[in-house]
Structure formats: structure tokens, C-alpha cells
């Protein structure tokens, strides 16, 4: 398979996934009892007024026509209007998206930076106490409830020790270089919580694939040739083990985004997740569906880019 065909296939799959997300959202909105006209109207609205609302929202037309209209709206970047703020949902969300991206990307980078050395440490000392300890930490990490770990960090390092601010993304009335410092200080606790919850599975996967790689024929040959163990570990085995670990990052992205929603809620971090929490309390359905669609598109696009990067990194893709 040529690399061009490979890229084209991944792009196609991305488009299909997004279309799937859109269709699911559309069907949910139309089939579940959260009737949009009922949601905007107060209980004492007359039947005629409800009819008028249905016509205004196009809800009196056949389902398939509504679907096509819905797709058309989305293509124009129209996600509807927020019930509570009376501004376009797109504006509300795009203002919040950078914070969510900053948080998740920081957490992903931290996961990789901590996860690779820990995985190498465990795999190279298989069956030792150190390996056992890393495994225990990994399994415990997988079992953490995001808000629990967030609240713990908040109580200890925010309120108890006072090392970090406890909410928001930047201090008020801070400008210039101090603003960046403030952003970093506000980012530490949410990013660490999000890192802790995904580190476990990353380390365990890293350990597993590296142990497999260390048993491969080319590693045995390198050992037989008398190469230093350190070099075999880091150059010959790790390179092969890194590829599955990269895929895992892409696969877990949907899960990480879910974690970000909960983390942002705990730390009042002004990203999309906190927006979702606020929209839930106000039953602001347009914001909820817009947030899901935007997060879905983000996840699919990032996933696609990881896959394509994988294709360029892994010579087997070009060869097959």
C-alpha cells in the first residue's frame, strides 16, 4: 500500500466517524423526550404558540428533511443558539476550546515524559521489586476516579499548602510575563490530575510491549553480538515498543477528554468541560450537543493525525 493510499484511507475514516457522531447526535436530539420546543417554552405556553415554535425550528417537517437541514447548518458552522446566554454556541465553545486543548495536551506530554522512563524501568528489571511497584502504581492509577484525585490535590496543594491557585485559568489583573506565570501556576494541579489517571494504562502498555520487544530475535542477536545492554534497551527494543504506545495515546483520547470534563469541573477551569457542567445545571441542550460535536471532531482529527504520523514512522505500512 502506498503511503498516499494509506493517508487517503485514514482521511476517509475520519470523515465517516464525524458523520457517525453527527447522525447519532441528531437522532438523540429528535428521539429523546427533550423536545426543543418544550424546552424553550414555559409550561403555560398555549398550543398555538408551541405550533409556531415547532414551525420556526423546522420540527414539523419529515425527519429526513430535518436531517439534511441539520447537516447544512453544521457545515456552515452553525451549532444553534445557547438557551441561557442567547449567543451562538460556536462563540461560547471556541472561546473555551484553547483552555481544554492546553490542559489535555499538557497532560498527554507529561504522561509520555513520565510514562516511557517508568515503563523502561519496569521492563528492564522484570520480576524485581521495582517492577512490582510500578505495576501496582499502574493498576491503582487505572482505578482512580478523576474528581477524587482532583479534589485531593486541591485540598493538599491548593488549600492546605497554598502552593498553587485553586481555581480558574489565570489571575485577574495580571498582564505581560506575569500572566504566563499565572497561567502555568493555574495549569499545574488540573494537568497533574489528568496525567495521573491515564499514566497507569500507559505505563503498563509500555512495560508489556517493551518486554515483548526485548524477547524479539533482533534483540537476542544484538545481545549475542555483545552490544551493551543499555544500548540494546534504548535503541533496539524501545524503538519498536514506542509504536504501539503511540497508538494507545490516540485510542485513549476520547477517555482523556472525558477526564478533562471532570477535572475542569473540579478546578473551575474555563474549558469546554466546565462549560458542559454549567450547561447541565441550566439544561442548555444546544451547548451540550455543540460541546460533544466539537470534542468528537477534535478527537477524530487528532486521532487521524497520530495514525498518519504512525504511517510515516512505521516502514511496514509502506512495505505492505
Amino acid at each position: 500500500m502506498s503511503i498516499a493510499l494509506f493517508v487517503a484511507r485514514r482521511l476517509g475514516r475520519g470523515v465517516v466517524t464525524i458523520l457517525f457522531a453527527v447522525t447519532v447526535t441528531f437522532l438523540l436530539l429528535r428521539l429523546l423526550p427533550g423536545d426543543p420546543a418544550l424546552a424553550v417554552a414555559s409550561p403555560n405556553t398555549t398550543d398555538e404558540a408551541r405550533e409556531a415554535l415547532l414551525v420556526q425550528y423546522g420540527l414539523d417537517r419529515p425527519l429526513i428533511v430535518q436531517y439534511v437541514l441539520y447537516l447544512g447548518q453544521l457545515l456552515q458552522g452553525d451549532l444553534g443558539t445557547s438557551f441561557t446566554q442567547s449567543v451562538p454556541v460556536v462563540d461560547v465553545l471556541l472561546e473555551r476550546l484553547p483552555w481544554t486543548l492546553l490542559l489535555t495536551v499538557t497532560a498527554l506530554v507529561l504522561t509520555v515524559l513520565i510514562g516511557i522512563p517508568l515503563g523502561v524501568l519496569a521492563a528492564s528489571r522484570e520480576h524485581t521489586f521495582l517492577d512490582r511497584a510500578v505495576q501496582v502504581v499502574g493498576v491503582t492509577g487505572q482505578s482512580l476516579f478523576v474528581p477524587s484525585i482532583g479534589i485531593l490535590l486541591l485540598l493538599v496543594f491548593g488549600l492546605g499548602l497554598g502552593w498553587f491557585p485553586i481555581g480558574g485559568a489565570a489571575g485577574d489583573n495580571v498582564y505581560g510575563a506575569a500572566w504566563y506565570g499565572s497561567v502555568v501556576a493555574h495549569l499545574v494541579l488540573p494537568a497533574v490530575s489528568l496525567t495521573l489517571i491515564q499514566l497507569g494504562s500507559y505505563v503498563l502498555t509500555m512495560r508489556g510491549t517493551l518486554i515483548d520487544a526485548l524477547g524479539a530475535d533482533h534483540v537476542t542477536l544484538a545481545r549475542a553480538n555483545g552490544l551493551p545492554y543499555r544500548r540494546i534497551l534504548w535503541k533496539h527494543a524501545l524503538r519498536n515498543a514506542l509504536l504501539p504506545a503511540t497508538t494507545l495515546i490516540g485510542l485513549q483520547l476520547g477517555f482523556v477528554v472525558g477526564g478533562a470534563v471532570l477535572t475542569e469541573t473540579v478546578f473551575a477551569y474555563p474549558g469546554i468541560g466546565r462549560g458542559i457542567y454549567e450547561a447541565v445545571t441550566q439544561l442548555d441542550f444546544p451547548v451540550l450537543q455543540g460541546a460533544f460535536l466539537l470534542l468528537a471532531v477534535t478527537v477524530v482529527v487528532v486521532n487521524m493525525l497520530t495514525d498518519i504520523a504512525y504511517g510515516f514512522l512505521d516502514p511496514r505500512v509502506k512495505a505492505s
Binding site: G258, L262, V280, L288
Partner: protein
């Protein structure tokens, strides 16, 4: 939990190599190996205790009152887990929350397991269905599931049955993914071909020969799905989408957060958090130990 293994001649032959030296059924052998793993046994005991709390909740603590005289008391003699900002006993909330959380986890994972297994096994058996199944599973698993669950739960209105159905609806693809990969290798085995020669009743072949062969994977995914379900349900409740009339671990955290007492009263968040960790961690350890126990002796770690 262990489905009886097939006793027909054909399946008998297929199972033969798995038997251990004493000639016991594989399930027995696995249990004997499992008993020797201290972490696995301890986790199983913890799970049993949590189930006991679920059943015996009315005996352990009175149902949380709607308010009480002593507000935000730290853990002490009268209230071992302290009280919240309305003077309610946190121990009662955690005990009754155990009931709700375990109920949701069991119900949601039961639905997800049945649907997920059925879809996986039928898909593996009928290639035409499998193409659709694997596409739907791939697509669903690549979406951010929690925001989707939030949207559905908000549209349907928060209640216990909503939470169960929403969690189940987005958990079955993971089960299908796990079971399908195993089922695909099983349907290619000669004894399934032999069964096809004997009968044209496909449902019988699937139920008698394919499902028993994938049972170990199902057992593992029961545990994994149930612990994921606990986390998802707690996440929904933490965002205010749990059943507002029943106590759950997520709701205790949600109320601590919304009442603003989270910062001053550590006991409000510590005890439900520990409960969640205990349940999910022991479930995970049980599934890991079960996997270890199934490995042939000598290959184990």
C-alpha cells in the same frame, strides 16, 4: 459465574488438552490456582463485603435524613464519617450510596455484557453481520463517550434507569471488541465445522459451542465493564446527572462541590472517594488474578 462446559463428545475432545494433571475441569483448575494468589483472594473478599453492604444497608445505617442539628461535624463518636453542610450523616450516605452504585454497576454491566456478547458472537459466526458490527464498534469507541453520555442523560432526564441505560448503551462496544477477537478464532476451529455438519440450527451451535469457548473473556469483561460502569455513573452523578432522589457516591461528591463545603470539610469527599477506589481497584485486581490463574503453570509470572 462459570457456565458449565459442554458435555457433548465433540466439545469434550476440544476441551481435553486444557485439563490439568488431576483431570479436573478447567474452571476447577483455575479456581485452585486463583486461591493461591493472595491479592486476588483479598480483592474477592473486598468485593463480597461491598455486596454485603449493598444487601444489608438498612441494617448498617439509617437512611440519610434530609437535615440534622449538627452541621459539618468532623468524624467523631456519633458520626464516624462526620456530617455534611445540612447536618446529614456521611456514613449513612456512603452506605446507601454503596447500594445505589453497586446496583447501577451490576445492572448496566449485565445489559452491556448480554448485548455485547450476543453481537460479538453472532457477528463472528455470520461474516456479513460482522462487517457492520466491527464498524459500529470502532466508530463508537473512537468518540469521547462521557460527553455523549452527558448529552443523553440530560435529554432523557436524570433517574436511576436513565443512568443504567446510558452507561449500558455506551459500554457494550468495549465488550464486543474483547469478545469478538476471541470468537473470531473460535469459529474457525475444526469442532465448530464439525458441529455445522451435524446440525443447521445455528443458534444451537453458537450457544453450545461458541459461547462456552469465549466464557473466560466474558468473565474478564464482566469485571472490567462493571468497574468502568461505577466510574461512569459516578462521573454523571458528580456533574449533577445522577438520580436526585437516591444517594450515590457520585452524588455525595456533587453535593460537597455545590454546597461549597468541599474546601473546609475533607471528610465529605474522602470517604466516598475511598469507596469508589476500593470497588474499582478490587474489581481490577480480581480480573488480573483470574487471568494469571488461567495461564498454564510455569508460564505464569
Amino acid at each position: 459465574m462459570t457456565t458449565p462446559l459442554p458435555t457433548t463428545e465433540l466439545a469434550h475432545d476440544a476441551e481435553e488438552p486444557v485439563r490439568d494433571a488431576r483431570g479436573a475441569r478447567p474452571g476447577r483448575a483455575t479456581w485452585r490456582a486463583f486461591r493461591k494468589l493472595p491479592l486476588g483472594v483479598a480483592s474477592l473478599v473486598v468485593l463480597a463485603l461491598l455486596v454485603l453492604v449493598t444487601v444489608a444497608a438498612p441494617l448498617l445505617a439509617p437512611y440519610p435524613a434530609s437535615f440534622g442539628p449538627d452541621v459539618l461535624l468532623p468524624p467523631g463518636a456519633g458520626h464516624p464519617f462526620g456530617t455534611d453542610s445540612l447536618g446529614r450523616d456521611v456514613l449513612s450516605q456512603v452506605v446507601w450510596g454503596t447500594q445505589q452504585s453497586v446496583l447501577v454497576a451490576v445492572a448496566a454491566s449485565a445489559i452491556a455484557i448480554v448485548v455485547g456478547t450476543l453481537v460479538a458472537v453472532v457477528g463472528a459466526y455470520v461474516p456479513r453481520i460482522d462487517a457492520v458490527v466491527s464498524m459500529v464498534v470502532d466508530l463508537t469507541l473512537s468518540l469521547p463517550v462521557l460527553p455523549l453520555m452527558i448529552l443523553v442523560a440530560a435529554l432523557a432526564g436524570p433517574s436511576t434507569s436513565t443512568v443504567i441505560l446510558v452507561v449500558a448503551a455506551f459500554s457494550w462496544p468495549e465488550v464486543t471488541r474483547l469478545v469478538r477477537s476471541q470468537a473470531l478464532t473460535v469459529v474457525k476451529l475444526p469442532y465448530v465445522d464439525a458441529a455445522r455438519l451435524m446440525t443447521r440450527r445455528h443458534a444451537w451451535i453458537i450457544g453450545r459451542h461458541v459461547v462456552p469457548a469465549v466464557t473466560p473473556v466474558i468473565v474478564v469483561s464482566v469485571v472490567v465493564t462493571a468497574s468502568r460502569a461505577v466510574l461512569s455513573a459516578a462521573g454523571l452523578a458528580f456533574l449533577g446527572l445522577g438520580d436526585p432522589t437516591t444517594w450515590s457516591w457520585g452524588r455525595i461528591l456533587y453535593e460537597a462541590q455545590t454546597s461549597g463545603a468541599m474546601g473546609s470539610a475533607w471528610w465529605l469527599t474522602l470517604f466516598p472517594s475511598l469507596a469508589i477506589l476500593l470497588l474499582v481497584l478490587s474489581a481490577t485486581l480480581v480480573s488480573i488474578s483470574y487471568d494469571d490463574a488461567r495461564k498454564p503453570r510455569g508460564a505464569g509470572r
